[in-house]
């Protein structure tokens, strides 16, 4: 039993997405497929799963050459895929989602719910997934939803399972659980490929690491032979600085002061509970915490997007509690929202239009209500150049850019003016190493230019790399404050609510 992709080439108009790529997978083996956005990982996996047809090359399962015209063919050959964005019906139960498409039926076409439920229970117990077969998808966490996807794949008797960026949406605890599940699958003889751009995961979990760059496999290495630095260099194709180079902070006056802040979430539950802290000019304060402990609401409360129910926010001595986003904008506050596609960009707008999304109304971009598009376009061209945004032009829809370049558009827009306070939420989530390196350097540059910086990230590594001071949020309260060199375990304990 083995899976072998050899000599796969796939061309799209104007680009070779896969260029003579080969990949093999044995039962009970975990292969990490590492590469930046656009390196061709997803194309390769989509070919394996029958969503694309390769122009050249062969797919062999157990030595037999197969042609997949659709994902049904791939599934029949024992290949399963867990997509990054889950394919689940929120209002259906776990069981209903698992059997959707191949419902067991009794006489007369009635769905045999007992049989279906039993199947789900069996798989869940066998791999220690702890999934309630009767829970509604919309009521269970993302981590559990992912397990439902895994059950779906197993129910279809997959022998080879592909995970597309499985940890991108998980909390640190869920990531550990996930890799526990992967161990179980491995022990049961399943072959596993997981796509990732997180270097640590690849080294910790994989038996073999395949690195792709620009459509080619550039390296195939064993985890014990490489460091994260090696992998980063291989992925990007040049030496990369994984540590954020920065000098000692030189804190000045207090710029942002948050006192006893209380904010409700969208279910009207108090998500931020009497949080107080200060950020001074010339320092970066990082907010760490497991996703969902009030970080989102804290940012929305400070930036005037959610109603503040208690406490106050001052910027440079002026009270701005519940000030509108526009007032804050005019005070020199820049905000990198945590979800760039949902809140940071208008995806069908051009790069130019997105570059002025929050300053279109002021000079020099418009006079009165008349937009000066000529100036705006020139300015966008300059920003694209200056902030290294890789795009075919400034007049293309921003949706056609990669995640990293979309994020650079936001950074360019938010940083290219006089800024006294930077609020950056998840500034590098889901983007490639090259862009992360660049955005980090820009944030540090803003600090060095005298801005106060507040960074919120669910990646503890990112918070530690950037911050001069770290505060940890747990259940909406400050659960600890640390210096930049504090031990990871101490911070980790605070993130779980058991520190200090």
């Amino acid at each position: 039993m083995s899976l072998e992709l050899s000599g796969i080439t796939k061309r799209f108009p104007g680009v070779v997405a896969n260029d003579d790529v080969s990949l093999s997978l044995a039962p009970g083996e975990v292969v990490a497929l590492l590469g930046e956005n656009g390196a061709g990982k997803s194309t390769l996996m989509n070919i394996l799963y029958g969503l694309y047809t390769a122009d050249e090359g062969t797919i062999k399962v157990d030595g037999e050459e197969l042609v997949f015209d659709s994902s049904a063919d791939a599934i029949a050959a024992g290949i399963g895929m867990v997509h990054q964005h889950f394919m689940l019906v929120p209002v259906f139960t776990v069981t209903e989602n698992v059997v959707l498409g191949l419902e067991p039926t009794t006489v007369g076409g009635v769905i045999d719910r007992d049989q279906a439920r039993k199947t789900v229970m069996e798989i869940s117990e066998r791999y220690n997934l702890a999934v309630d077969p009767d829970a509604l998808i919309e009521n269970i966490s993302v981590g559990v939803q992912q397990r439902v996807e895994i059950i779906k794949v197993l129910d279809r008797e997959a022998r080879f399972v592909v995970f597309d960026e499985p940890t991108a949406v998980l909390t640190p605890q869920e990531v550990d659980d996930f890799f526990g599940i992967v161990e179980g699958l491995k022990a049961d003889g399943k072959g596993i490929v997981f796509i990732t751009h997180k270097l640590g995961e690849a080294i910790d979990v994989a038996d073999r690491i395949v690195v792709m760059r620009s459509g080619k496999t550039v390296a195939e290495v064993l985890p014990q032979d490489v460091t994260q630095q090696d992998l980063a260099d291989l992925m990007v194709g040049r030496p990369v600085d994984l540590k954020v180079p920065k000098a000692e902070a030189n804190p000045g006056e207090v710029v942002l002061s948050v006192q006893d802040l209380e904010v409700l979430d969208d279910r009207n539950v108090k998500a931020v509970d009497k949080v107080s802290f200060e950020v001074r000019a010339g320092e970066i304060v990082g907010v760490a915490g497991v996703q969902g402990n009030g970080q989102t609401e804290l940012i929305e409360g400070i930036t005037g997007l959610s109603e503040v129910v208690g406490g106050k926010v001052t910027i440079a001595g002026k009270e701005v509690t519940s000030a509108s986003p526009r007032e804050l904008h005019s005070m020199g506050v820049s905000h990198i929202p945590e979800d760039r596609q949902e809140s940071g960009l208008v995806l069908n707008f051009t790069v130019t239009e997105n570059m002025v999304l929050d300053s279109y109304y002021e000079e020099p971009y418009s006079k009165g209500i008349v937009m000066d598009w000529e100036y705006t376009r020139e300015s966008a061209k300059r920003l694209v150049e200056q902030y290294d945004v890789r795009t075919p032009g400034t007049e293309v829809a921003v949706s056609t850019l990669s995640g990293g370049n979309q994020q650079k558009v936001i950074v360019a827009r938010e940083f290219d003016r006089d800024v006294q306070l930077v609020i950056a939420a998840q500034p590098t989530r889901g983007i490639d190493v090259g862009s992360i390196e660049y955005i980090h350097s820009q944030i540090v540059a803003k600090r060095d230019a005298g801005a106060a910086v507040l960074v919120v990230s669910s990646e503890l590594d990112e918070v530690r790399a950037l911050s001069d001071r770290i505060i940890v949020l747990f259940h909406g309260k400050v659960a600890g404050e640390f210096g930049p060199d504090a031990a990871v375990t101490d911070i980790g304990l605070a993130m779980l609510g058991s520190g200090q």
């Binding site: 108009p13 656009g38 694309y52 999304l357 209500i369 937009m371």
Partner: protein, 391 residues
């Protein structure tokens, strides 16, 4: 962007390029005409009976009927000065109201209320047209302005309802259409507005100074209302693509969440857009009052214009210039359809069928792509090309 917004934008054409947005409607028109030809050919019972006995003769009859019909359609729409006048005359209110609906689409709002906004505009315009005494160069713009204000208030109210309470504009605008209709039926029977000596809801005629001058001379029906509509095209285009409020409208329409993060006031945008959209429909209502003999307001003054305007906006992909072409096309079909009925004995209903076919094909671009083998511009291959721009 939410899935739903995605769907709306695809259906309304928001965010697609101009060249791309012209190709599919043109192909849709051609396809519709071909299918229309088949319908014409098979709609004559005599020919169908003949088909069994003398197939050759039947086919030749069918062919000549199709040719005659389309020749009449062509003649009636652009074959003479009068035809052109009739086409422009029919296109004018569609264009004004269609711009209003398109503006709504651009801001993510589905305005079904053009009908009611037209009626309310016509009533306010009727008061000014009947009672104000002024020279034409003042009376005409003031009457028109009254029409605009009437529609503006009516549309703005539905916008305010959405902004304040979240009431969906599809529901409120439909309900406001009913309210407007019955309000107009009542107010047209009140003393001071009702035509003296009538007992049905009809207003008195507006004064001559408030009537729109004819564009091609007295014997042709088209008025300077058409020029006003063209000005509105330029105005809406400028608003959407050259002004900062228009930038806000489009941003909020595509991604209200990002709009509010960028400091835009979404509630204000919704109210403003519905008001301006209503104003444009109100202008269409005033045009029907001021440009159409006997220059009286009635509850049926809007005809089906308010609803056809939705079709026109969709067909024009919500782009002001596209809406202009769509309105002209619908005007031509209306004018040509009358000629087709008169000369070629083909029921005018066929025109409605043609319009419906065009809209179906525009709404189902996948079908047109399949028929004409046009490659989609948003397929996975294109997406793949662009992701490779990553660092």
């Amino acid at each position: 962007m939410s899935e739903q917004q995605n769907w709306v934008n695809r259906a309304t054409g928001v965010g697609t390029s101009v060249a791309r947005s012209l190709l599919l409607p043109t192909l849709a028109l051609i396809t519709a005409l071909v299918i229309g030809a088949v319908i014409i050919a098979f709609s004559d019972v005599d020919n169908l009976q003949l088909l069994g006995t003398d197939t050759g003769q039947a086919l030749s009859n069918m062919w000549s009927e199709v040719v005659d019909s389309y020749a009449a359609l062509f003649r009636g729409s652009i074959g003479s000065v009068n035809s052109i006048s009739e086409t422009l005359f029919a296109a004018t209110p569609l264009l004004l109201a269609g711009l209003g609906v398109a503006l709504g689409f651009q801001a993510g709002l589905f305005n079904i209320g053009a009908q009611g906004q037209m009626l309310m505009g016509s009533i306010l315009a009727a008061y000014v047209g009947i009672y104000l005494t002024a020279p034409a160069f003042l009376h005409i713009p003031l009457t028109l302005a009254a029409g605009i204000i009437g529609g503006l208030i009516w549309g703005g109210l539905t916008g305010l309802l959405k902004a304040r309470t979240g009431a969906h504009e599809v529901i409120t605008t439909i309900m406001f259409n009913f309210i407007a209709l019955f309000f107009v039926q009542w107010i047209l029977t009140t003393e001071g507005l009702q035509d003296p000596g009538r007992n049905n809801p009809v207003s008195a005629a507006i004064q001559e100074t408030a009537q729109l001058p004819k564009l091609f001379g007295e014997e042709y029906r088209v008025t300077i209302g058409f020029l006003i509509a063209l000005l509105a095209v330029a105005g809406v285009h400028w608003l959407l693509y050259r002004s900062s409020p228009g930038f806000e409208f489009r941003a909020v329409g595509s991604n209200p969440h990002a709009g509010s993060y960028a400091g835009m006031k979404v509630a204000l945008v919704i109210t403003a857009v519905m008001a301006i959209a209503g104003g444009l429909a109100g202008a269409a209502g005033a045009n029907q009052l001021m440009g159409l003999d006997p220059y009286k307001a009635t509850p049926s003054l809007a005809g089906a214009v308010g609803f056809d305007a939705i079709t026109v906006a969709l067909l024009g992909r919500s782009n002001p210039v596209g809406v202009m072409w769509a309105a002209l096309l619908f005007g031509a079909l209306t004018a040509g359809g009358r000629e087709m009925q008169g000369a070629a004995q083909v029921p005018i209903d066929l025109v409605v069928v043609l319009q419906a076919l065009i809209v179906i094909f525009v709404a189902a671009p996948g079908m047109i792509r399949a028929i004409w083998r046009v490659k989609a511009d948003d397929d996975s291959a294109a997406t793949q090309v662009t992701t490779s721009w990553g660092a």
